[in-house]
């Protein structure tokens, strides 16, 4: 407590006003320094946001006059089957893909935290796939999951499993994408690893002396102590998944966007299709705003629920 108040006092000193300058002069100086951000904010955030809002409320196909259409874009979404398909596909990825990736990357972080020979090499190996460009890794997995000459089903064949037709079976296309995502989860593993370093060694040792098993220590010490990191990974993972685009754009069977059978038609893919293939800017903008509010709502919801389960040291 005392330490933290001391810290905040030091901190306060750090950001003390630049003495000897008038308010006006310091404002001018500050604005001069942040001018690049300010200009960018006006040009590339505020202006497009405003325009997007206008488009979303109008009937607007690339050119021609903007026509106010009484929230028709938003109303149309309710009766648009493909919109619901896209939303369901996206929710599938958020509800299954994000937690599966979180749990497996936490497990990997625990593995990589074991004191074994060659630990740093293993860490590199687990991390490396995450820096492969999304386009390259998606193409690679398309090839790995190829039903005829793919290596996945061959490997499964070695242990007596007849692999599914990953790419062209609507039931398997999304699990394939989750698998692809898991291959590139190195970033999440690194964040968990750094969190594991902060888990109190004293607490773990005390628990061990008291006879707590490995699992009990994991369940009652490690997992609660990395819960803020789980929360962070959950929220960033969720936001990323709602905007899932590149992999889905590349990863399609023999058909067009969203194939097979619209099973990979995700929200952002459908939005792109509406905007840049059907050139319905009004509808696409409305979808973008709905996406924004879905993400906002989910974030707030997760933060609310997590309050009860997240442990913050200090």
């Amino acid at each position: 407590m005392r330490l933290s108040s001391l810290y905040s006092r030091i901190n306060h000193n750090h950001s003390a006003p630049v003495w000897g300058r008038s308010r006006y002069r310091s404002l001018r100086l500050g604005l001069l320094f942040i001018a690049p951000w300010l200009a960018g904010f006006l040009l590339f955030t505020l202006y497009p946001m405003g325009m997007s809002l206008v488009y979303s409320l109008t009937e607007y196909h690339t050119r021609g006059p903007l026509e106010w259409n009484q929230f028709q874009n938003f109303i149309n979404m309710f009766s648009d089957d493909l919109f619901w398909t896209a939303l369901k596909n996206t929710l599938y990825m958020v509800v299954f893909g994000v937690p599966i990736t979180l749990i497996t990357s936490f497990a990997c972080a625990i593995l990589l935290n074991l004191k074994v020979k060659g630990q740093s090499i293993y860490r590199v190996i687990y991390f490396l796939p995450s820096i492969v460009p999304a386009v390259a890794s998606t193409l690679l997995w398309l090839w790995i999951l190829n039903p005829q000459a793919g290596v996945m089903n061959t490997l499964l064949g070695y242990i007596g499993i007849k692999g599914p037709n990953w790419l062209n079976n609507p039931a398997w296309s999304k699990p394939s994408l989750i698998l692809l995502g898991m291959w590139g989860m190195g970033g999440t593993i690194v964040i968990y690893l750094s969190g594991l370093q902060d888990v109190s060694k004293n607490l773990l040792e005390a628990a061990e002396l008291d006879g707590a098993s490995w699992f009990q220590r994991l369940r009652h010490i490690t997992i609660p102590m990395v819960s803020p990191i789980t929360l962070f990974n959950l929220i960033t993972g969720m936001i990323g998944m709602f905007q899932y685009f590149t992999q889905a754009y590349i990863f399609r069977g023999t058909g067009g966007l969203g194939s097979p059978l619209s099973s990979t038609l995700f929200y952002s893919v459908y939005l792109y299709q509406q905007g840049f293939q059907y050139l319905d800017f009004g509808y696409a903008s409305a979808m973008a705003w709905v996406l924004f509010f879905i993400i906002l709502g989910c974030t707030v919801l997760i933060l609310k629920i997590s309050n009860r389960y997240t442990y913050y040291a200090g």
């Binding site: 325009m51 898991m182 964040i191 754009y249």
Partner: protein, 374 residues
């Protein structure tokens, strides 16, 4: 776990019992270590095998790519030269026994073969007869390096004149300018948020952080119109480069966190000596910030190099394509040339792997900084 050798044991009543316990503890430790190793290696296979497969495929010959079951090494024909032409060798069942012959022509199940030692004599053999294979290509392990130049020299679309070297160059140009823009624009902004006290600063900083929440999709369409129609930058690199010359929330946040750790006393001392805020920023803070500037550089490179959505929206003629877009276009063709596609993918990935090995610490640090801290 380990006993400290400098401390003698407290009592040695039963030396044999102690030894036994020590031994069983050591065995248990060894078992634990090997079990850990086994699990780590097994899970590691999941991360390694795709890489291996990518590399193996990139070296495969066309006739080996679709071989079923897939083979873990690249195979190629054994070639024989007849009149300066190269023909693949086949193991052929002829009237006078099995022979190794060069296949001159194979058409609708019938092959015309010649003996490289005696090219004038031709054999006409059905490849398959009554379920028996009469002629079989002789394959040997061979790494086809030629896939790499072949892949790089071909365009995603024939006849346009743009090939993967052009895409590679385009990606480099875009990434280079994006790095310059990001470094120039973000550092002063982050410095102001870290060290200059001005009215409204904290509110503005919250606004900076709030923009992180906004999905790209919301601004995508108006930006598309702004760049393409209002500014007339369609099919140029400008829409991809220019925004980086305006600060973005992630880098501002990252840099600000670092700038705050630089001792204020140093800046104060310079201030007393009459240095201006700009001088403090450029002469004191920036030179001390090389590690974080490296982080920003590496991550910006990674981001710009990998970006797919931006080029997809703004670039439409093949001579302007980036690697990401070129690969996607390559994939879109009717026949998938997987070996060349994988070779091109490796060319696309290698700069990043190199960057990683040069700046491994920077990478990991950056992920931690943007991730777990604050």
């Amino acid at each position: 776990m380990q006993t400290n050798p400098t401390h003698p044991p407290l009592y040695t009543d039963d030396e044999a019992e102690r030894q036994r316990r020590l031994r069983s503890k050591r065995i248990r430790g060894w078992l634990k270590a090997s079990a850990s190793h086994a699990v780590i290696n097994f899970v590691g296979l999941f991360f390694v095998i795709p890489f291996v497969w990518m590399v193996v495929t990139a070296f495969k010959s066309n006739q080996d790519v679709f071989h079923t079951p897939p083979r873990w090494l690249p195979y190629d024909y054994v070639y024989a030269a007849i009149d300066g032409q190269r023909y693949p060798l086949y193991r052929v069942q002829t009237a006078d026994g099995e022979k190794e012959l060069a296949a001159l022509k194979i058409d609708s199940g019938v092959g015309i073969f010649a003996d490289p030692a005696n090219p004038s004599e031709l054999y006409e053999v059905k490849i398959q007869e009554g379920g028996l294979v009469m002629a079989e290509a002789i394959m040997h392990v061979s790494f086809r390096w030629q896939n790499f130049p072949d892949a790089m020299q071909r365009g995603s679309r024939p006849g346009v004149g743009a090939n993967f070297w052009v895409y590679f160059k385009n990606s480099l140009i875009i990434a280079g300018f994006t790095i310059i823009g990001t470094l120039l624009a973000n550092t002063p902004v982050a410095y102001a948020f870290a060290r200059i006290k001005f009215p409204g600063r904290d509110v503005l900083f919250i606004l900076v952080l709030a923009t992180m929440m906004l999905p790209y999709q919301v601004t995508m369409i108006p930006m598309y119109k702004l760049f393409n129609e209002i500014l007339g930058w369609g099919n140029t690199f400008l829409p991809l480069i220019i925004p980086s010359f305006f600060a973005n929330a992630y880098d501002v946040f990252l840099l600000r966190q670092f700038f705050r750790t630089i001792p204020e006393e140093m800046c104060d001392a310079a201030r007393v000596d009459g240095a201006s805020e700009w001088q403090i920023f450029t002469r004191i803070v920036l030179p001390l910030s090389v590690p974080v500037l490296a982080t920003v550089t590496v991550f910006t490179f990674l981001w710009a190099w990998n970006d797919f959505t931006g080029p997809l929206l703004f670039l439409n003629s093949p001579d302007k394509f980036t690697m990401a877009l070129g690969l996607r276009d390559f994939q879109g063709q009717r026949t998938m040339v997987w070996n060349q596609l994988m070779a091109a993918s490796i060319m696309f990935t290698v700069p990043i792997i190199i960057a990683f090995f040069f700046a491994q610490k920077t990478f990991i640090q950056g992920i931690k900084l943007t991730g777990s801290k604050e």
